[in-house]
Symmetry: D2
Subunit: 231 residues, 4 copies
Amino acid sequence: MCWAYTSRIIRHKLAREGKQLDSPEMALAKMMDVGFKSVAVQSLHTIPGEEYHDLYRNAKRFARMAGGLYRVRIGDPLLAKNEDLIRVTEAIIRHLPKQRKKNEAVVLMGHGTEHAANAFYPAMAYYLQRRDPNIFVGTVEGAPTIKDIKAALLAKKIKKVYLMPFMSVAGDHARNDMAGDEKDSWKSILTLAGITCVPILKGMASYDDIADIWVDHLKTIYTQKYHKDKR
Amino acid sequence: MCWAYTSRIIRHKLAREGKQLDSPEMALAKMMDVGFKSVAVQSLHTIPGEEYHDLYRNAKRFARMAGGLYRVRIGDPLLAKNEDLIRVTEAIIRHLPKQRKKNEAVVLMGHGTEHAANAFYPAMAYYLQRRDPNIFVGTVEGAPTIKDIKAALLAKKIKKVYLMPFMSVAGDHARNDMAGDEKDSWKSILTLAGITCVPILKGMASYDDIADIWVDHLKTIYTQKYHKDKR
Amino acid sequence: MCWAYTSRIIRHKLAREGKQLDSPEMALAKMMDVGFKSVAVQSLHTIPGEEYHDLYRNAKRFARMAGGLYRVRIGDPLLAKNEDLIRVTEAIIRHLPKQRKKNEAVVLMGHGTEHAANAFYPAMAYYLQRRDPNIFVGTVEGAPTIKDIKAALLAKKIKKVYLMPFMSVAGDHARNDMAGDEKDSWKSILTLAGITCVPILKGMASYDDIADIWVDHLKTIYTQKYHKDKR
Amino acid sequence: MCWAYTSRIIRHKLAREGKQLDSPEMALAKMMDVGFKSVAVQSLHTIPGEEYHDLYRNAKRFARMAGGLYRVRIGDPLLAKNEDLIRVTEAIIRHLPKQRKKNEAVVLMGHGTEHAANAFYPAMAYYLQRRDPNIFVGTVEGAPTIKDIKAALLAKKIKKVYLMPFMSVAGDHARNDMAGDEKDSWKSILTLAGITCVPILKGMASYDDIADIWVDHLKTIYTQKYHKDKR
């Protein structure tokens, strides 16, 4: 079992703090050297976007190397199959702030991307709103945007929102872009529009029933029978 | 300029009628023989699902062949970027049946898939319902299912629906699974639930402003500057 | 069973004469369309040089295509394993011109290449000279050159040589570069050096025991058990 | 600049002695992490056999990874182009034992392989014998074999031979298979046949003019202009 970090920025930042972390490629090259033949790589991404595909592509390169890994499987990110959307929807419904009243909204902040996988954010919104029409999903770098969300909140005359990061951890984006005091943070934008904001700084991976989905994706590839065509 | 059919079933069926059609691989091998160096392949798929990825994967194989095509680009299917979802939403809104009243629903039938790209159907539903809450998107083989749609229609006490195929052409699925008289067709299921059905047998590619999206995707790859990393 | 021509020049020349020939890629794409899953491709090259590797590389691309060939094996050219060098040596010894006297030389003309596989020509020369020191191997585009051969013949005071193409067919190179009347043909060069030349216009594939080697290479891949790593 | 060892056996042996050495894959993964974009990998193999091709294949995998090395070139082994055969021939001629008399033989021991690249040994023999008919090239695991060499030495009534490793270093094969006292070593086999043996335990990389060839192969790829097709 071994942890690797896909983000070079994070790796080099932690290296300066004395923590040496492997990139996925370094981890795979080491496993190959040790003599492993079959490796299961679990992505901790939220959607199958560019970063997930980069990990997939690079890890798969190792499955074709001479004298090396014979089988490299990559687990789905949090959201891939339709059942993942359903499971995440149900988990989020369970973790809505206890104190929230029905006419108060919940706004989830996803990362967003120009990649086609951005479709998972409106898809997520669709399933959440089927359960509760006052739950919204916006993104920092994709769509829907905070502008879209603000317009929808105002149209529904929402007075108070709970802001939750729809990311594995409550990191930089959650603390600054979502809950920061800068004037372009979501909190600032909505506050300025007359909406009271309550940020909740807890990442998706902190909820056991959501973390379970990633773990189940690992179990799926780990127990998968070998099929010549899908190694 | 050359047409190729990805579906072996369709190719062999048309061959029996005397029409010889190339598979994408045959078309690409011929172009390679003729001496083409750069080829733009436009997918006519609706979503970037398994079939799109198969086409992508196979076509890309030709970009690495000796003495052959140097550059093979594959255009996005109808839905990929977020702006595609928006454009298709606006086009569908424009093409809603004239005679439809506000309290009557429109149900779009997509193909659906177990592939992650199924997320485009709920994403599409999200954008359409932002414009008109009585528009629904269901799928034959993925989610949402007709069962989901029926429940939603009944919950909203809808009495009449217009059924539209959300596929490039109004083929087998539209005529049979959507509008057929078999008891498991969508028309039969909804009629049995007391909802009047009006099927519209017109595929998405028949609407000029939707066909334009595919054409624009071709233009995008066709005019793309060569970039060493993205050939 | 299907024939394909790797050379675009030959294909297009024959096309002008009304004979439509497939490139290997077209043949493979058609086999894929028909529904073949496993294909054995037999190279008719003499050495594993650039052309052989191009064929290998392109044919292998088809083994990874979606919905296509599952297994594509490519047979060795005439010369690959050491036993091929031995078999060809013995066959050539059997086919030396009957009328040739011991102090007359035999000069084989190979194609030659800048590719590393040019080593097969001096290797061939080594094995032939172990059997008969008056057999020489030269090449048109690689090494040894006709200049090398001429020097060796003069050093050994050879008065007469039999020129034989060391190519599958006695085509352009044999008729012109070897046996032509142009002043830079091998015949002209050696004649000018006072050596009588007797060209034999018969390609290697015309000798049954040499053709058998290619056929055996096809048998080898055809009967090979499937091994997950070597498809 | 970084050294990597292709042999897992050697790496793990040295690891037990406290020397941590990288495999080529680990070295490349690290370079990718550091941010290198273009890497030149120089093989120290003697022939382009299976090990060279494994290195080539694995290193090339890194040239297609996301966010990684953009260009990975692999230098030729000692022998590839015909000019390499010529240069090595001339260098060996220069380094023949000073004390050797004309009627004494020199036997070079190559590794040998079942790979097609074994042809480089008879090719090497061809070029050496053109310069000096009493130089022989045999191999441990390929052809020509020591049995072939012994027969040739006896046929020429050679009484004394100098044994030289035709490998980059005088390692296990040179000390044991060539010069060892075991009854199946080359020294024992030839001694038993009445031939006096003088082993010279010096690898090819110890001769400056031979080491220069590897260095020149590195220079070639290092100074190569970028060509889109040959990265």
